[in-house]
């Protein structure tokens, strides 16, 4: 790429007489094109870091909308670095560098051997770095001194007899030019290596129709040959998740919104997967016990695979990459939130599977998506910054018959928040938003039963009626009213207030009461009416609570304490929030049978060694280019009226400033050497001319 500036001008003038191919070659090798490409690639690369690459296509669709989604898709923005236009720019850069290299290398190699002995005394004087001496030493003696000085400065030299004068032409650091060649060669080599390992071949075969992208989520055995690549010499990089106790002999190569199946020449069985955690909840170690068998492998290979320690078999590198759930079985209890008093459903389902649930309200599809046994994190839905171990959790999706779904994230065990315990259940309507967590208070037995029965009692017409009638009697008795015929009317008020409380909260109930009583009689009467209504509401709720406690197995006659009051209040503040839960089903994780899966990345990268070789060239080249400076020094020696004149001139194009300093030092060295030589010969009197 580097064309020395004077040469560039000369090339420009000759352009007229050249053929088209020469003009093209000239353009490809030009510095301007190279710089433009460098900057253009920089800018294009930014896109791929701003738009997250290779995400599921639904995510892009919901992010960019139906208008922009296909436009961005056509531009290849979801996989910029293998988009045609991006690769074309890289290819142009490689071509540009290659052309430069081809044009410059011969000249540079020739230059390395040239000592420029054609310099004249006048041309040497024109150098900005030159110094002259006149000495009593003979020309031969001066030549010896000069040769010694040049040699001491690491210079190779040529001597040239120029009639009345002698020219010593010295040169050092010509490997600087090698640096140029190596760096640029390295870029080409690295790009070629990268190309070998890229997925260009895969895309080409897909384009020609040789391969078909599989987009369905189906078992490997059902995937047709048109989406499979048999084991071969080519490069690939794919992923496979293998549950404990299972085996695989393929990996999946992701491409756009689908994948291709790459078959392996061996079979990988996962005996066991282990993960250990730090106190912070981060994994401290994960590893898989593998057994690898295959036609080319005599003895089954038993190997424990760890992160940062890949296993390499016959050019195939196997990496411990990730881990996840391998189809754990969850035993769930499904609580109806309809107020129908239904017994909880017992559901047994595997993670990553979907099943129909027949439900009073119709049919729902339950998709279990995730299951984690460890969750060290901040308590969700609180301000706390403390990391805590919250125990197992699972995520699921409930899809109605109309296809709309909500996602949930529930913890198995209640979580301690300010000394009270709650079951956390997160809900969201789209994958983009964060979960919003509902806090269901846990009862004395650390169960959600009391709360759920309480909710059930309040949601059921019949049981709320029972509770409200009992509540009305209690309230009337406390208020000193004893008119049985008023009970239904008072109870109806109690129910109405209770429903409003559940839907809108206590504040709304109080406002409603105030406004209802406004303009009715005296201030005093109004006050006592409000108090009475409130009492009826409280007693109604309390009766329902007692029913719930009884249903949950608590002794109804038990002396209640402060913690029961707190539970009661927490329950009342949670119940209105349940209205937004969206699906009348709460899933509680009862027990589970954990089965993990290991995530392996398997790659064949025959280009890797090419890339590493290129990298070595690059480093060597850069060091030569920056830290070896190419410099020339000429010494012109001739007799000048009984004395000898020495003219020393030097040049370094790359780094003139430090050369100026170095030349100063060199001048001093010449000075001292000349003086020393004179003192040994006994003839004094040299000096700067």
């Amino acid at each position: 790429m580097a064309s020395v500036s004077q040469e560039a001008g000369a090339v420009g003038r000759k352009r007229q007489t050249r053929s088209t191919s020469a003009i093209l070659l000239n353009f490809l090798g030009s510095m301007n094109l190279a710089i433009t490409l460098l900057v253009a690639i920089c800018i294009a690369s930014v896109i791929g870091t701003v738009v997250q690459q290779n995400q599921p296509y639904e995510d892009y669709l919901s992010k960019f909308g139906p208008f922009w989604f296909p436009i961005f898709d056509n531009l290849g923005l979801y996989d910029v670095y293998s988009a045609m236009w991006y690769l074309a720019m890289l290819a142009f850069l490689v071509v540009s560098v290659s052309v430069c290299l081809a044009r410059q290398t011969p000249g540079m190699l020739r230059e390395m051997g040239k000592f420029r002995e054609h310099q004249q005394e006048r041309s040497l004087r024109a150098f900005s770095n030159h110094r002259e001496w006149r000495t009593t030493l003979s020309p031969d003696e001066v030549e010896t001194v000069a040769a010694r000085a040049l040699k001491h400065n690491g210079m190779r030299m040529r001597r040239k007899d120029r009639g009345d004068a002698v020219l010593l032409a010295g040169m050092a650091g010509s490997s600087n030019r090698i640096g140029y060649i190596l760096t640029h060669l390295a870029i080409v080599v690295i790009c070629v290596g990268g190309l070998v390992d890229g997925n260009l071949m895969l895309k080409y075969r897909e384009w020609t129709g040789d391969l078909t992208l599989e987009t369905r989520n189906i078992p490997v055995s059902q995937i047709g040959d048109e989406s499979r690549i048999p084991p071969g010499r080519g490069s690939f990089r794919g992923m496979v998740n293998i549950p404990e106790g299972a085996a695989a002999r393929v990996v999946f190569l992701p491409l756009r919104d689908g994948y291709i199946v790459q078959e392996l020449p061996f079979r990988i069985e996962v005996e066991e997967f282990r993960v250990e955690h730090w106190d912070t909840g981060e994994p401290s170690l994960f590893e898989s016990d593998l057994i690898i068998t295959g036609s080319g492998i005599d003895e089954p290979i038993h190997h424990t695979l760890r992160v940062n320690h890949p296993l390499i078999i016959d050019g195939y590198a196997i990496y411990q990459s990730s881990f996840g759930d391998g189809g754990s079985t969850l035993n769930l209890r499904g609580w109806s939130l309809l107020g129908d008093g239904a017994e909880p459903l017992n559901i047994e389902q595997k993670v990553s599977s979907r099943e129909q649930i027949e439900f009073a309200d119709g049919s729902l599809t339950l998709e279990l998506t995730e299951f984690e046994t460890f969750n060290t994190r901040r308590v969700p839905g609180t301000e706390s910054r403390e990391m805590e171990e919250l125990g197992p959790s699972f995520e699921y999706r409930l899809r109605g018959t109309d296809g709309s779904a909500r996602e949930f994230h529930n913890y198995m065990r209640p979580v301690d928040i300010d000394g009270r315990k709650f079951f956390l259940s997160g809900m969201r309507t789209t994958p983009q938003e964060p979960f919003r967590y509902l806090h269901l208070p846990a009862d004395r037995n650390d169960r959600p039963d009391t709360f759920l029965f309480f909710h059930d009692a309040l949601s059921s017409e019949q049981r709320l009626r029972d509770a409200s009638e009992r509540g009305a009697r209690v309230a009337m008795r406390e208020f000193g009213l004893d008119q049985e015929e008023l009970v239904p009317q008072v109870a109806a008020t109690g129910r109405e207030l209770a429903r409003q409380l559940l839907d809108e909260g206590l504040g709304s109930v109080m406002t409603e009461l105030e406004s209802r009583m406004a303009g009715q009689g005296e201030e005093e009467t109004r006050q006592s009416l409000v108090m009475f209504s409130r009492l009826v509401l409280e007693r109604t709720l309390w009766e329902a609570f007692t029913d719930a406690r009884t249903a949950a197995g608590d002794d109804p006659e038990r002396e209640l304490g402060e913690s029961d009051q707190v539970f009661f209040q927490d329950a009342l503040s949670t119940i209105p929030a349940l209205a937004e839960y969206g699906v009348p089903l709460f899933l509680e994780l009862d027990s589970y049978n954990h089965r993990q899966a290991t995530g392996l990345q398997i790659a064949r990268a025959p280009g890797a060694n090419i890339v590493y070789f290129g990298s070595a060239l690059l480093v060597a080249g850069i060091l030569l280019l920056f830290y070896v400076s190419h410099r020339r020094v000429w010494c012109w020696i001739r007799s000048d009226g009984g004395r000898t004149m020495l003219l020393v001139a030097g040049a370094n194009q790359r780094d003139p400033l430090s050369f100026e300093r170095k030349f100063g030092v060199l001048g001093e060295e010449f000075d001292k050497r000349l003086k020393a030589a004179e003192s040994t010969t006994g003839r004094h009197g040299s000096g700067d001319a």
């Binding site: 790429m1 580097a2 020395v4 500036s5 510095m31 190279a34 710089i35 460098l38 900057v39 690639i41 920089c42 690369s45 930014v46 791929g48 870091t49 701003v50 997250q52 670095y81 001491h152 990268g194 390992d197 990089r237 730090w278 106190d279 912070t280 981060e282 994994p283 401290s284 994960f286 760890r306 992160v307 940062n308 320690h309 890949p310 590198a317 990496y319 411990q320 990459s321 990345q601 398997i602 790659a603 990268a605 890797a608 890339v611 590493y612 990298s615 690059l618 480093v619 850069i622 060091l623 920056f626 830290y627 790359r654 780094d655 400033l657 430090s658 001292k672 050497r673 003086k675 020393a676």
Partner: protein, 387 residues
């Protein structure tokens, strides 16, 4: 071949590099070699062969640097002695509070706070020295910068020990999260600056370089007090590798050099507005600053190239591919291409002056995004140091 006697007579030293080394040079190198061998034998159960290799490589690097840049010998020797003293007084973590020296000077937290204070002091002192043309203040600035670098370096060395005190399996080199690398960045930048200060015999750039270091100190303090980032946290499996020891420090030499180049760019742009006035005030000439800028970018570019290649080699081992177009990798490529373009224009087109200075300044923004922005704004494989 001249003998030393001849040299005396001529007043000119014709000996080669090795023969010009003083007795102190050799003793210093040998003492460190002995210490290295001792460490390599004593801690052998904890180190694999790569880590042994890195240990000896560090020794060789140190000797190379010390022989070429003599003040580094005193610095390293003093640092080693103080670090050993700190470790000797540090049998368990409780000692950080109970021991006077550890509590106020030598525990990693104390040392890093000293580093922050000294760097923040050095910058105005350098500027005052420049504007008042006071040689004393300039020398004071240099002294403060040396002390600050020592404190920062000590802070990380002691932190290394502390990580093992938490639990032996938690122990690791302290260059693994954003907090630690900010300390690394601060003193690496300062040391590279000090080298060029020594080489170019000008202290005028101290304040400018101090600005970028102070900015990083500001971030560090915020990160410490607002986010509690100074806690030592154990490592996830992907980071438990000896590659960490070479990949990260190499990168930070590059970041430091790029930062210095940008700050010299700032000085260059300021001077270009009124060259006469500023040169009278003691800023170096445009040529010298241009040269310094180039030297730093070249140094940064060389180290950045090596660091990126080391990163690729590590990625090949940990992630299963030497290049994944992860945002950090991509931004490294962008940074690399950016400086490659800068160097090409300088080498082949002979560009100099204000545009190149501005470009060096913009380059620092690109570097900052690579270093920091990627972790904050983009997600990817490198998202270890999230805010």
């Amino acid at each position: 071949m001249s003998t030393p006697q001849e040299t005396m007579a001529v007043g000119f030293d014709e000996r080669g590099f090795l023969r010009r080394l003083s007795a102190f040079d050799w003793i210093w190198a040998l003492v460190f070699l002995a210490a290295t061998i001792y460490a390599s034998v004593t801690f052998a159960p904890w180190m694999d062969r790569y880590e042994q290799g890195i240990l000896y490589l560090s020794w060789a690097t140190l000797v190379g640097v010390g022989w070429m840049w003599k003040p580094a010998r005193i610095f390293s020797a003093a640092l080693a002695l103080v670090a050993l003293f700190a470790v000797a007084r540090y049998p368990d973590l409780a000692a950080a509070q109970s021991d006077f020296f550890l509590n106020y000077l030598l525990s990693s937290q104390a040392a890093i706070m000293w580093m922050c204070a000294l760097f923040l002091a050095a910058t105005p002192v350098y500027f005052a020295g420049l504007l008042l043309r006071s040689e004393f203040l300039n020398k004071l600035g240099t002294a403060l910068t040396w002390l600050a670098s020592g404190a920062g370096f000590l802070g990380l060395l002691v932190r290394w020990w502390e990580s093992y005190l938490i639990a032996p399996e938690v122990g690791r080199i302290p260059v693994t999260n954003l907090y630690e690398v900010f300390v690394l960045f601060a003193f690496t930048t300062a040391l590279i600056y000090l080298y060029y200060e020594h080489r170019y015999k000008t202290r005028a750039m101290g304040g400018f370089v101090g600005l970028i270091i102070s900015a990083s100190i500001g971030f560090l303090l915020w990160y410490h007090f607002a986010q509690g980032a100074h806690e030592i946290e154990p490592l996830i499996p992907a980071l438990q590798s000896w590659w960490m020891k070479i990949h990260v420090p190499t990168n930070f030499v590059a970041y430091g050099a790029f930062a210095i180049a940008a700050m010299i760019g700032v000085a260059y742009v300021i001077q270009a507005r009124n060259p006469q006035k500023w040169q009278e005030r003691g800023l170096p000439s445009a040529e010298v600053m241009d040269d310094l800028m180039y030297k730093n970018i070249a140094l940064g570019f060389a180290f950045f190239t090596i660091a990126t290649i080391l990163g690729a080699l590590w990625a090949a081992e940990a992630w299963g591919g030497y290049w994944s177009w992860d945002p950090k990798e991509t931004w490294s490529l962008i940074t690399w291409l950016n400086y490659a373009a800068w160097l090409h224009l300088r080498f082949t087109k002979g560009w100099r002056g204000v545009p190149m200075a501005w470009w060096a300044i913009i380059g620092l923004f690109v570097v900052t995004f690579t270093f920091l922005g990627v972790n904050i704004f983009l997600s990817g494989l490198h998202s270890y140091g999230e805010l």
